[in-house]
């Protein structure tokens, strides 16, 4: 399909116009972002206000997605939960991408650092992400900030590996060698020649990290090692619902739908982006 442009935004617009799948992906993602941004305007109730007389009520005109065991409105809690997911997702993506680029560039550009840094990254990647995240949460204590730290530690090595690989191959390109022979400094080469050339694999990777982070936050909160209650998070709303599956299945059905649709939207975008930029690469991530 591609008619590649130098502008990333133009590429995206092109893809949205050409691919029906991309339209769905962008629509779902934008929807979730808007819901998170305007949560106070969209939520019909205060997500924290309990109302014992109204507990475990099914979906109705008043409570679109029913109420939980404390009589709180599930729809409003899910909308605010989307905020938590978005905040944790964007922060994890930002920090893991930042450190991933930093470590990847250092390892790829300075051979002396390469061996040590990559062995550390190998060791980090040997841990199963959720197990490592739970251990980190145990060490730091439950809070949203610590979820971001745990996920950043998990995802940084992945980005670092990709950046290192790209850096190594770009360093061998003739134009980079020419720049070196003309006396360009290391930093100039990194910023002028290497970084601009690794933007697309990094963006593809960032979309996958976003999807993984949303899943991981929900999973951590679900097992009680993530966002601590009463702050609503998709994971802890589901965890609350587990005890009331028989009486209140809506507590299980609706929050999960939010998780799935947001991950689906991001995954679709990631797939289309990947096919567009580099049909050969395949990134299969661990959960």
């Amino acid at each position: 399909m591609p008619e590649k442009s130098d502008s990333f935004l133009l590429n995206i617009i092109y893809m949205v116009r050409k691919s029906r799948l991309m339209k769905i992906g962008v629509f779902l993602t934008l929807l979730m972002i808007l819901l998170a941004l305007f949560a106070p305007l969209i939520a019909t109730h205060d997500p924290y206000r309990t109302n014992v007389r109204n507990r475990l009520q099914g979906p109705s005109r008043e409570n679109w997605m029913g109420t939980d065991e404390n009589g709180r409105d599930i729809f409003s809690r899910a909308i605010y939960g989307g905020r938590v997911s978005a905040i944790i997702g964007f922060n994890s993506v930002f920090f893991s991408t930042f450190f991933g680029i930093l470590f990847g560039l250092l390892a790829g550009y300075f051979p002396k650092l390469d061996n040590v840094m990559m062995r550390v990254m190998d060791a980090m990647m040997a841990f199963k992400p959720i197990i490592l995240a739970i251990a980190i949460m145990a060490a730091l204590g439950p809070s949203m900030r610590n979820v971001v730290i745990a996920l950043t530690i998990n995802y940084t090595p992945r980005t670092a590996r990709i950046v290192r690989g790209e850096t190594l191959s770009i360093r061998e390109e003739t134009y980079v060698k020419a720049a070196i022979s003309m006396g360009a400094s290391g930093w100039r080469i990194i910023f002028k020649h290497i970084l601009p050339n690794i933007v697309s694999p990094i963006i593809v990777q960032a979309t996958y990290i976003m999807a993984l982070a949303i899943f991981a936050e929900a999973a951590l909160s679900y097992v009680g090692a993530g966002t601590p209650p009463p702050t609503p998070s998709w994971g802890n709303i589901l965890a609350d619902g587990r005890a009331f599956m028989r009486q209140a299945p809506w507590m299980t059905i609706f929050p999960g739908l939010f998780i799935m649709l947001s991950i689906l939207g991001i995954n679709i975008m990631g797939d289309v982006l990947r096919d567009f930029f580099d049909p050969k690469t395949n990134i299969y991530e661990q959960r």
Binding site: R119, V120, D122, A123, M124, A126, F127, K128, I130, I131, L132, I134, A135, I136, M137, A138, A139, L140, G141, A211, F215, A218, A219, Y222, V223, G224, A225, L238, G241, R242, M245, R246, P249, T252, I253, G256, I259, M260, I263, L264, N267, I268, D271, N282, Y284, Q286, R287
Partner: protein, 314 residues
């Protein structure tokens, strides 16, 4: 090949050491004193000190690491604070449950993934392909614990066909074990099937465009031979990569799925040990699961060489 195997085995030493250091440091540096679990809240400080000494918590962290490492090398991962028996024993008694889930999950994933991937590739750009691609995309995005809860709602709560949680030992009561395991297997299987099917589809499509496939077709070979003998066989190395990933993920235990279904495997053991601050178990599990991943990775790499003679290791 032999030297490659030896080099890969040697590389395990630094990675293993690093893994051990991370596992140890992470848990040791965490706040909270496990000794408080063993005495009553109003116990005198001397008693707390005594417990700390007995648990070996009073030594310097470097000393404790050395001590722990020496034990690890002899296969001794310490004693669980909570269960008061060796960590290795705790692991061994939990692992069969995880293994039961893993084997079934991998089985279901392969059973779904190969036909879906192959059909979707053969029927490329048709309605069938569209449908299967959606099946794959949804599978990759479906949070497995949510799927698990929905399955419980449908098959246990509404229909009452299957038990909603718990697990029995497969070797003692195989039929009951399978009844308990069906829902967890599907919950684990769908996401992994989707992942594998996606890879099967894309690598089949890749191979189908090759010249030798055109040659095979123009020779008049049946479509069956072309697909199974020429295409699938050549696409198999990349499919194997994903199978390796899937096997790895499931064999080290699914924390959330074991949590949803109350399966006493190592994933649940991890969560429980964290909340009980059972440091030796958490450390041990971090180390064991990471080393399992390192070895499975090695195994997958070696399998490539067996399956694909074009790969040469120097």
């Amino acid at each position: 090949m032999k030297s490659y195997v030896i080099r890969r085995l040697l590389l395990i030493i630094p990675v293993g050491l690093m893994v051990g250091m991370v596992a140890f440091a992470l848990i040791q540096l965490s706040p909270g004193d496990p000794a408080t679990f063993f005495v009553s809240p109003d116990a005198p400080p001397e008693q707390l000190e005594m417990v700390r000494e007995r648990l070996g918590l009073d030594a310097h962290i470097v000393v404790r690491f050395g001590h722990w490492l020496r034990g690890v090398l002899r296969g001794n991962l310490g004693i669980s604070f909570h269960q008061r028996r060796p960590v290795t024993e705790v692991f061994v008694s939990a692992y069969p449950y995880t293994l039961t889930l893993a084997v079934g999950g991998i089985g279901i994933a392969i059973l779904i993934a190969l036909p879906v991937g192959i059909i979707s590739a053969i029927k490329h750009n048709t309605k069938t392909d569209d449908f299967l691609r959606i099946f794959i995309l949804v599978g990759i995005s479906f949070p497995n614990f949510w799927l698990a809860m929905l399955l419980i709602l449908l098959f246990a709560v509404s229909l009452g066909w299957l038990p909603s949680y718990g697990m029995v030992n497969f070797f003692e009561q195989p039929i009951q074990a399978i009844r308990h395991a069906i829902l967890p297997w599907i919950s684990l299987g769908y996401f992994n099937a989707a992942l594998m099917a996606r890879m099967t589809r894309s690598s089949m499509l890749d191979v189908l465009q090759k010249d030798y496939i055109r040659t095979a077709r123009s020779k008049g070979l049946t479509e069956r031979t072309v697909i199974y003998k020429h295409t699938l066989k050549n696409a198999f190395t990349s499919i194997l990569t994903v199978m390796g990933l899937v096997a790895m993920r499931l064999l080290v235990g699914s924390v959330v799925i074991e949590h949803v279904y109350n399966v006493p495997g190592i994933g649940r053991l991890m969560v429980n040990s964290v909340s009980r601050r059972d440091y030796p178990v958490v450390q041990g599990l971090l180390l064991i699961t990471a080393m399992m991943i390192v070895f499975i990775n090695l195994g997958v790499d070696l399998l490539y060489a067996l399956i694909d003679p074009r790969i040469k290791y120097n």
